[in-house]
Subunit: 473 residues, 3 copies
């Protein structure tokens, strides 16, 4: 309650501040000057914005996958978390996140963090900066929402809201700066020398978006502990089936649809005709991932598993996100196939070995395959496309002779894991020992819809919960 | 029955007439001449059409929000109403609506109504007119579908079909003509003098679309009366929970997704690079609206309310629709925050003071916030963008020194309320005293799916209805 | 099991092969040369790809329509089929389908089949070819998924997977070659002479996509036999209601949304401003189809039927798909109205006369109306647009004096029926007599979710199945 009121005051204050200081005469708000200078701007703006709209729609996909794969008694809580992480994320990214990520970066400090364009004020009030902000916002919000599934069915809503502000304002933007904002991973002399003209790369964010979300999810799920009934006393995991496979698969379709914007839109320009190759790779990697998980589950359990097929699509998509512009379709299929294996084994490993309860497989899909995407880029980049453009040095990976670039990607992988998992542990540990991160046992059993929101998602349907084995821990 | 047959005959007749008289040699049907004349046409056509597709998809969002927030026994009826208002709206807007709204407007009569381009015949058979028609159709259909939620769970389907023809053919287009078609609110000498070079403005339709829909919804809900069980004998409202929060929130995501097309597409041109600023404002106002309703409900009831958060998004979006191109992001956040307050208080006021039963909050979301959007434009327009273009006089509001333009917006607000609520009262009153507008008590209790359509939306699920207090009126 | 393992080996092998032989130096992978040569490429690429994304999203629409109109116990199986036909289709179309359809076609053999560009290798690794592949893939996958609904609730999943590979690799591409790839229906001297300068045409695929899918669906449904309980001993059909009208109608909205990309995107170019006319025709035909089925069911049964209204939209859309670029809005409305009659009568005819059990009406929507679309093009083409371009001879139909072209379309209709229904019979007959195509009686009664996938789509809901009359066959 108190924190709610304080947060309102804070936001209202910041907002009024922003309103007052907005210098409306700055830069090129009408866009007329930009248009004169760049005759290609209309097609590039329309491409980038439309792709950004698709990425924004992925929020609905995440909401459905996560709610579909969890129980009916928590459905309203899950969609609420998804809606609000976008909303709180947008306001946080506007206030400070974008400034840290894409603020002017000069000198040594610029390799670490940017530090202007807060609240999109001053020079930032310009059609080009606004275009970039919008496209980056929807990426930031994607990273934020990934965690939601892994911590589902037991996290306190208030803790989740604070988490989503922190990831959008600080954790995501700073790592993002290192890769996309002129920071050290991509632009320091050490890295560009090692890579042979370019440092660590990540076309659309296997690392920046997915691995960051995936490893924060790992930290959150680890510190929260498993849901009641998830493991027997001897540690054997118990399947807790989701309440709507139909909605979960609709979510997969929506995510795939949006992912074309995610990957192909990351050129930020339709004048980069490579967008067609990116779209092809995005289609093939998702298909190959699903094909692989379908056959793997068919082979192991005698029946093709539906939700694993859905996760196979997402795994392939996450893995192809970093390399999508620098590889050929053959490599995209291969990357997707391996991604299917990784998500299948990752889910098993977390569940059976680490006993970390990740209800929707977010860590395996986004974390493990995020790393696979970064490494796959270091392996399969085939020299057919430059550094985010047709110009300049062509990007080549280990299989095409550039071992240094592969090392850059290994470094990048280690860094993103350490950053996201490390800060995730710190953030959720602090929250755990202050406001608390887990709902009470009674609330968890009754469902978070009632406990957190005083509602029921499906009051007109008679619901039930399949009985589970006796000796549950 | 009889009316059904007659309507078929009417439409078949009109259609065959249209077919016969279509002069295919007119204007520029291939588009080759237009392309030569306007080299920017491809990027502008593709932007406008793609945004129009997104707006069309908002129909699905409305269907889900409305069905999700009402009971399972009426779900099929509600989605059917949403589908058919788009279909009947498309045919009506083709036959006459577009002619009234965008027909050639000359002289005094032109300030009131347009009067050619019926059935898109003759000169209208041209790639540019067709592009405009398509984009305007999806806006018209949005206005029509807003009413659906407010009259849900008790309106006769036949009356609803007639309503959707009338709003699409007459009520929406005529007011639309006044603002967007060269009519008196925007273009009369009185108004342009008052506004200082321009009359009433409405970038993407807070007034033209949302307030028209919202206040017709108010008229419909008022004349229908409340659902059985909605109010106790002493007038205390009883919450009637919707049957799927999940689908309702999916609807909110779809609406937000489509709203980017709604607002940014309203430039009708990608050469207006201001589209990026519009997208940013659309993201921030929705986020701020949701943030505000979340905190308000948290503060008042101790728990953040899910469906109010969804309505908060929509409230922010409605309010930013009119000003989205003329304000900066700081103002967008402020407008969204106030929109959240308005929807929260509006829902309370209708329910607790006026005792008007609006099952989904359509009046507060679209009506009250439609007005707020018009006034906010009059307040916050900051002189960074011209009248629907980078050219010409920059638009400024009261806070930037143009009190006359704020007055224009006040006049516009009064007019849209009087027009929509007034004609709504007349239309539903006439329907009430002819074919009737409300289903029987038995049908309402049993559900409109059976009564109106002989079906059940969820025959494989065991459904229930939460008991309500004893002394229901 | 065995076939699963073998298929994995096959795909892995093909994939590694593809990876090894990819010649990355070919053609124009960066796109820089294409951009220089064709300055319009950016707007055309972005239009085509974005429309392709919309078409890909139609997969979600099909999944929802099909699962919504069938029973809860088969819901997971149905969405799994839809997901996997896209995935297997993408890999098959990459490996061989595209080569058969758009491979270089020269001489007599070129009138029958194309035969290069396998795995998008060599010359195919080019931004333009990749753009075409992506757009064609999503069309191919649409044809594949149409069958899913007609064979729902009883087909073995393994047989369905084989079917989806065969249609995507062979059946769809070869017929597609005849119409769109330089084959005999469009380009042979006989046909172009008959048509008066052009042979059979099909703008966006009433025949190529919908009739192929629809008549393969007919073959599949016929050879599978009807679901248990569908017909009484005397042959009277029994309605088996679907488990979610809400999701089915959401599917209809998604399909309509995607269909704008399907039809207007088929110009493959935004420089064809005719895209606006295509969008208008697509809106009007769908609306007219729904209006007609609504009134027909209202008139016959006293109540407007919801799922028939949804099928009316789809019927109108299928029918306008072939002619959409060559007709005026009056004709679009007329075509939609007739499409509504056809789907209404087709469903009745299959069910009451042929006793073929098509749970979702796929044969009537896609097959019968696919033919109607081809013929309507032959009737109503009005000479306002050329052969897929503003240039060249204008296309005119029978009503505008070109009887020869109408004959081309009649031939095309006969051919597509014979090809799709014939090969469908052969394929499903072979499958029936080898691995089997129908699940066991026990599995069908219990539901395919458990039998095929070991899962339940809705484990948290208490489900039921409405009792059916006693004397069921």
């Amino acid at each position: 309650m108190v924190s709610g009121k304080r947060t309102i005051q804070l936001f209202l204050g910041l907002m009024l501040l922003g309103l007052i200081v907005y210098p409306c005469s700055s830069a090129d708000p009408t866009g007329a000057a930009t248009l004169e200078e760049k005759p290609d701007a209309p097609v590039n703006f329309s491409w980038t914005l439309m792709c950004g709209f698709l990425v924004m729609f992925m929020q609905a996909g995440f909401a459905l996958v996560e709610t579909g794969l969890t129980r009916a008694k928590n459905a309203a809580n899950i969609v609420m978390k998804n809606l609000m992480d976008f909303c709180m994320g947008a306001l946080s990214y506007w206030a400070v996140g974008f400034a840290f990520m894409f603020g002017t970066a000069t000198g040594i400090s610029g390799l670490i963090i940017g530090f202007d364009k807060f609240f999109l004020m001053g020079e930032a009030y310009d059609v080009s900066t606004m275009e970039l902000w919008f496209f980056q916002l929807v990426f930031c919000a994607t990273a934020a929402t990934i965690v939601s599934g892994a911590v589902a069915e037991r996290i306190k809503f208030s803790a989740y809201i604070i988490y989503s502000v922190v990831i959008s304002a600080i954790i995501y933007p700073i790592y993002g700066h290192w890769v996309w904002g002129g920071g050290w991973l991509a632009s320091s002399e050490f890295m560009t020398t090692l890579g042979g003209g370019y440092g660590a790369l990540d076309f659309a964010g296997s690392g920046v978006v997915h691995a960051v979300g995936g490893f924060m999810a790992l930290a959150g799920a680890y510190l929260l502990g498993s849901r009641i009934g998830k493991y027997k006393k001897d540690g054997t995991p118990v399947a807790i089936p989701g309440h709507s496979i139909t909605l979960a698969m609709l979510g997969v379709f929506i995510l795939w649809f949006g992912w074309f914007g995610f990957n192909a839109g990351s050129t930020l320009a339709a004048t980069e005709l490579h967008i067609s190759i990116i779209a092809v790779n995005t289609a093939l990697a998702g298909a190959a991932g699903a094909m692989m998980t379908m056959f793997l589950t068919w082979w192991r359990f005698g029946k093709p598993d539906v939700s694993m097929a859905g996760n196979g699509v997402l795994a392939g998509l996450v893995a192809v996100t970093a390399p999508c512009a620098w590889i050929n379709p053959g490599a995209a299929v291969f990357i997707g196939v391996i991604a299917g294996v990784i998500v299948y084994m990752g889910v098993w490993f977390l569940d059976h070995r680490l006993h970390i309860d990740d209800p929707v497989g977010a860590v395996s899909v986004h974390g493990f395959n995020g790393i696979w995407g970064l490494l796959a880029l270091g392996l399969f980049a085939d020299g057919t496309y430059g550094v985010y453009t047709t110009q300049g040095p062509m990007v080549t990976g280990l299989l095409y002779g550039n071992a240094g670039f592969f090392l850059c990607q290994v470094i990048n992988s280690v860094v993103v894991f350490a950053w996201a998992f490390g800060l995730g542990l710190i953030l959720f540990w602090v929250l755990k020992h202050t406001i608390g991160i887990r709902v009470s046992r009674e609330e968890e059993l009754q469902g978070l819809d009632i406990g957190e929101h005083g509602t029921s998602a499906y009051p007109n349907f008679v619901t039930t919960e399949p009985a589970v084995d006796g000796d549950i821990a």
